[in-house]
């Protein structure tokens, strides 16, 4: 266990600078964006009321009140989230390939450490999970702060204050990243983490079998996707609508556990017997 934690700490330290940059970009972009987007709205209000002579009620009737939704749809808010997603997606591959192709072939040292090789696999996965959950947690902190900024900027009459739940519900990207219940969290992030395990194992297949390994990795990915959707396909072919929604949920969770376990097991085998340095 201590070796595993050491490896997690090590992997985190390797990425922490870029991670802090992502955090910084998110905070700055969203806070600055909250100010700028609300100022743009107020500029429209002032122009309409003081220059064009529109009444306050007419303006609100025509253009609506300002809410977090208006800010949430702007690039200031969505941009850093998209950037973080892209960076982390790339890092899922990079976390392995840097060990082979960086200046020093670090994988030599990792695989010769006096610890189970599976710890290398699990520590990389844990690092990815921690960083994803950490960024989403940051967003959970930022949303109420940004709401308060909007409250300071826009007068009450022109404002429609939304609760955190309403903001999450109205902004589609938030409803995926911030599940409203623990079961939804398990499902959404379970699928995400399962995908990470699948990609890791595909990478190890490529590292084990080189060119053939690329094909094997692709086939493995296709196989696991097929396995995940298999219960749904069987249901629609044999007896459509047989399972209730709650049962489909638990079947999906079971498939996530099975596929993740399969990926970890195969990854362990490859690290132990096939991956060569």
């Amino acid at each position: 266990m201590s070796n595993y934690l050491k490896l997690v700490n090590f992997e985190l330290n390797r990425f922490i600078k870029l991670y802090m940059v992502l955090i910084g970009v998110t905070i700055v972009s969203q806070l600055v964006g909250a100010v700028l987007v609300s100022r743009r709205y107020l500029k429209d209000v002032n122009q309409a009321i003081y220059e064009d002579g529109m009444s306050q009620s007419s303006f609100i009737e025509q253009f609506g009140q300002f809410s977090f939704y208006d800010f949430g749809m702007s690039l200031w808010f969505v941009g850093p989230i998209a950037l973080s997603i892209v960076v982390l997606l790339i890092y899922v591959f990079f976390i392995w390939y840097r060990d082979w192709f960086a200046k020093n072939t670090f994988i030599y040292r990792l695989l010769t450490l006096p610890t189970a090789r599976l710890n290398v696999y699990l520590s990389k996965a844990t690092t990815i999970f921690l960083m994803v959950l950490g960024l989403v947690a940051l967003q959970l902190i930022l949303i109420p702060i940004e709401s308060r900024v909007l409250e300071w900027m826009v007068p009450l009459d022109f404002r429609n204050d939304l609760s955190l739940d309403q903001i999450i519900e109205q902004l589609h990207v938030m409803s995926v990243l911030i599940p409203q219940s623990i079961l939804q969290f398990i499902r959404n992030f379970g699928i995400g983490f399962m995908s990470v395990f699948i990609v890791f194992t595909a990478i190890l297949l490529e590292r084990s079998f080189k060119w053939k390994g690329i094909l094997l990795g692709i086939l493995y990915g296709a196989f696991t996707i097929g396995l995940y959707v298999l219960p749904g396909v069987l249901e629609s072919l044999i007896s459509p609508g047989y399972f209730y929604q709650s049962e489909k949920f638990f079947i999906a969770i079971a498939m996530v556990v099975i596929i993740s376990s399969l990926s970890i097991w195969l990854g362990r085998l490859l690290l132990k017997y096939k991956v060569t340095v």
Partner: protein, 420 residues
Amino acid sequence: MKRYYKLISLSLFTIVVWAGFFIPSIPASGNQPEFVIKTQDDQKELGHHLVVSGDYSDNDNISKFLTISEEGSDYFSDRSYLSQKEMLYANPGAEQLIKDYRNFMRGKGYDLKSFYQDDTTLAYVEIDSDINFRGYESINPSFQVDVLDKETKDRTTFELKLTKNSNFDYGDILFVQLKENELQVVASLSSFDHEKGIDSEEYHLFAIDVENQELINDELILENEENITESQSEWQSLDVISAETGENDQNYIVFMKSVQEAESLPNGEERIFMKDSEFIAYNLESKKQSKLDIPEEIQPEDYDDSLHLEGNNLYFSKLKNNELDMSSYDISEQTIASEQTFSTPERDTEESTYYGIEHGYLIIAGRYITNESDASIIIYDPKSAEKIYDGEISADDKMKAVKGELAIHDITFTVGLNEY
């Protein structure tokens, strides 16, 4: 430990924030008011079975669906994630069937018109078909029949090909009844002729022998055609009036053929009113149809005017001048059986009055509840005009704090009322 401060900080921050998010201090319904049905002491039996469905909205103009009973409010948003996924909040009948007969209900649709239930049997009929490559035509249509003996738990499941009437685009089950091992099924079969632009609809009565698993009769009751390529301000409509799915034998199905016209109102909304209507009753026992001679004064004027079939009686209801006029027409005798007038809540207008007939009871209620007013619920026996229930829906103090509004969509009874 110092070496691990980044890992520890990130882990702690993540756990604390997520835990704080998921450990609810306030339920999802947040500051939404609580509603409750208040019943007088001597009316508890009836009040206990009442369920009100509606939408609550306040400053954010977002509607929140909820049901209200004597126990209080049940907001959809407060239900568990899995309960919300089942999407049965608006269909308590189907929800109860799933609770009582979970395996039987697998793969079934939730439209209660496809079900028949009595003390010993639960039956389900559906029209199933493949869709052709053009995406709108049904091919190889068949009846899917499933009958459950409640006592022995035996199931009879079979499929019957619809060979005689197989050229239709869409089939819909409107009524199912089981009588002495014979299923009587009323279904509409619709088709659209793309070349001529004609929309056709046929209403059939099918008889299915459950024991021998065969289709023994297929009778065309009524048909309707409409050319939709011609521009028109009025159109013909054919609607079926049958009793709600229940445990009582039904003798009649009533069809309403009407010519409808849309009228634009000053507020920009559209009102559909009926220029002409004709009622045809089909006797399920004798298999004979008869045109009902409904006096003009009780015929519906608006499409929203309520019609209800209960046994041999067809009820016509109209709201006018803070009064509900209800006439019942005896189909077998072909006469008006009764005419009653019921008063509606004092301050309510036609638009703000809810009324309906459930399990043979007439329910009248105020449709809207605001921070200034509660809504009364009054229940009458339509045959005797006796008031048998007088209650109200009231809100807690949170309602006074916000400019919210509860709009009532439906008032029904929970299961078990048949024993009352």
